[in-house]
């Protein structure tokens, strides 16, 4: 898969290299807000018979800051279009996911809550196609697409007692990092502030893939707390320098 992505990237670079006279390096810094949606979770996990815990977390959407950087090349294309290709790296907020633990799966034994952290990072090959609307400050509406990899780290599992008589489990689920193929699409608009500086705002969606914790010592089964699909929507404000 990654070989194909690399091949695609190199293929995309070809016209930029062949049009070296009009190709300019660019660097873009992004800051914005992301909305990451986690589906609901309900998972039974057994440590020792007859004990079995049901972990429940409702579907939820968490939002927070995201930062990123894009390094690439820009070249003029036919029909007054501009094309950009490059590598982007984005790091959204650390997600703190909370849920409840029903011992024996029985709502009467709602004795503990749990918390885990999910840190996602995205490395993307991005393709951006910009048009130009000539005004006092030229506008560049654009569409963007990208493929790459997300690195989703689930870690920091902790339990909190919900009553003074509850003693939390001292064992914890192991940290785990998953790598997933991801893709993104988005749109936005940049504006030329100077000949070399653009400001912009854009929106994009990404399927971040799965996030899973590891197992717990002495666990009787192999079930884990997992989210098979994290979806994020991001609104990014860009500061772009065009060389």
């Amino acid at each position: 898969m990654y070989k194909k992505i690399l091949l695609l990237f190199l293929t995309a670079l070809t016209p930029f290299i062949s049009h070296a006279a009009t190709t300019r390096p660019i660097v873009s810094l992004a800051y914005g807000v992301d909305y990451i949606h986690l589906p609901s979770l309900q998972k039974d996990i057994s440590l020792e018979a007859p004990f079995q815990d049901t972990y429940i977390s409702p579907s939820q959407t968490l939002h927070g800051p995201v930062v990123g950087i894009f390094l690439g090349l820009e070249s003029a294309l036919p029909w007054d279009l501009l094309g950009q290709v490059g590598l982007g790296y984005y790091r959204p907020q650390i997600l703190t996911v909370q849920g409840t633990i029903l011992q024996f799966g029985n709502p009467d034994y709602n004795n503990k809550s749990y918390q885990e952290n999910i840190q996602t990072q995205q490395a993307l090959i991005e393709f951006k196609l910009l048009s130009t609307i000539q005004t006092r400050f030229p506008l560049h509406p654009y569409i963007v697409a990208g493929v790459g990899e997300s690195i989703n780290k689930s870690y920091g599992y902790t339990e909190t007692p919900l009553a003074p008589y509850v003693v939390v489990n001292t064992d914890t689920f192991a940290n785990r990092t998953l790598h997933s193929f991801i893709y993104t699409v988005g749109l936005g608009i940049d504006v030329d502030v100077t000949a070399h500086v653009r400001l912009g705002v854009g929106y994009r969606q990404i399927e971040l893939g799965a996030a899973k914790l590891g197992t717990m010592p002495n666990q009787a089964d192999t079930n884990v707390l997992s989210y098979n699909t994290l979806q994020t929507s991001e609104i990014l404000f860009n500061f772009t320098y065009v060389g």
Partner: protein, 508 residues
Amino acid sequence: MRRYLFFIFLASIANVVWATSSTPLFVITPLVQAPTQSYQDQTLTAIYELINNTPYPLTNLNIANFPVGITQVITTDPSYCNTNPINLAVHGTCLLKVSINTNSISNSFQWNPKICNSGTHYCSQAYPNDQVSLTLMGAMPQDCQSNASNFNFELNQQFDNGSIVTGWGISPKALQSNLNSSCTIGSTGIAWQQQRVLDAAAFWIQQKINYCHHYMPDWITPVAQQCSAYAAGGGTGGCCSFEPNINPNSPLVNQTVRWNYSGQGSETAKYWQTYNRMWYGVDCTNYTRLLYNFAFGTLFTGDTPSQAGQDPNGSQATISPNQQTPSNLLNYSCSPGVFVCGDGSMDIPGNFCAGHGGQFATSGMGNYFSIIDQSGISHSSDPAIVAMIRSQLYLLQPGDLVYIAGDLDTGQPSSNVTHAVMWTGKTVGYGSSNINPSQVAPDQYCTRANNCSWQGVDNIGGWVITDSHYQGADYRVFTNFFYLQDLWGVKRIIGSSWTPGTNCNPPD
């Protein structure tokens, strides 16, 4: 954005759907709490009830978290957790008794008992207010006064002799006593002994045990035998006080939780009713017996008429102190002490309080401290006699056992001895020598409807007794209703020459 609003809506719904409640896997409740202050060279005791509150029978449960200085006490009493690990059936219980060596712990010490499944992944502990929280204050003072309330030696012993009577439960044994004999000598010794038995009462009152038809407070009524001690007929062995006040005129009607529960931690209706707390307790004469056993290692009968002195065969069931004759003495050998005469002195066997009738004799009642005269007639409805007796109550001594022949429902006299209380010699008030009104327990049927009030604030200056009925061992006001109007007789142990009879082996 609409999509996310929808997600947020779903999340809200999910939170509502999963509205749940907390339930302990294992319930840990103190039956006997460790003191909060103590001294070096002491072995303290705490007793906790452990309950398997899961839907599964569990084996190899670990009683965990024993630090240096705390050890599990193993007994032969089947009520106790005598192994570690333990097995508990669904809702099964056992009592965890621990000893705390104050020489092995820090001066500011805290410990919370914990019970876990075999893998120690599923554990419960006691509420913070129920954990051992102890401050040590150096060496133990050796003066008598400081040691009157020291029951560490008694508490560290096994309380029970192992034999179980269906319903009434496990039987007590005479505790060993290591009292400093110099504290018990002379008139100061009398006062010290009185203080000690009052301190024994204070100790057990503090444990907030219920009224149960049990011999001992560390016995739990088995589920199959659980019943109301206030059912018609008084309930059988094992019955305890719940829904104790069925009198609709009472402000306490349908009050099912112990009156002085805080409503916090384990002092809630849930713990009282569902988690067994109400099924531990003693009845009136087993309470008075318990106090003297803890104070002095003196074991007498816990059967009510017999403790008053009547023959256990029932032949003296309607005989009161003033009705005794040389051939019909109330002198059961397992009954404690001697009768108190009308002038407050102690009877000399065979003398029938001759010359010591005091105001009782002057009133034509007889020589004994009783509202029942020589003909067996109760003068409970005679205001002059009632007033006379009230005026003579100052003659009673702390530790005196006062026996009642009355109907708790109506307050009217009955032909049989029905109740026993211990005289404290204290009155309701706010001074250091008083019993504070906030410590005075409600009295089941003593209501304003009966021209009577159980509330301490309504009885400032009133005499205080300690007894076990209604919701258990407590201080109560010696009201006319039920108590004074049904005063059958008084027995005094402290200062008497009484010792348990050689053939006295009561489990009852």
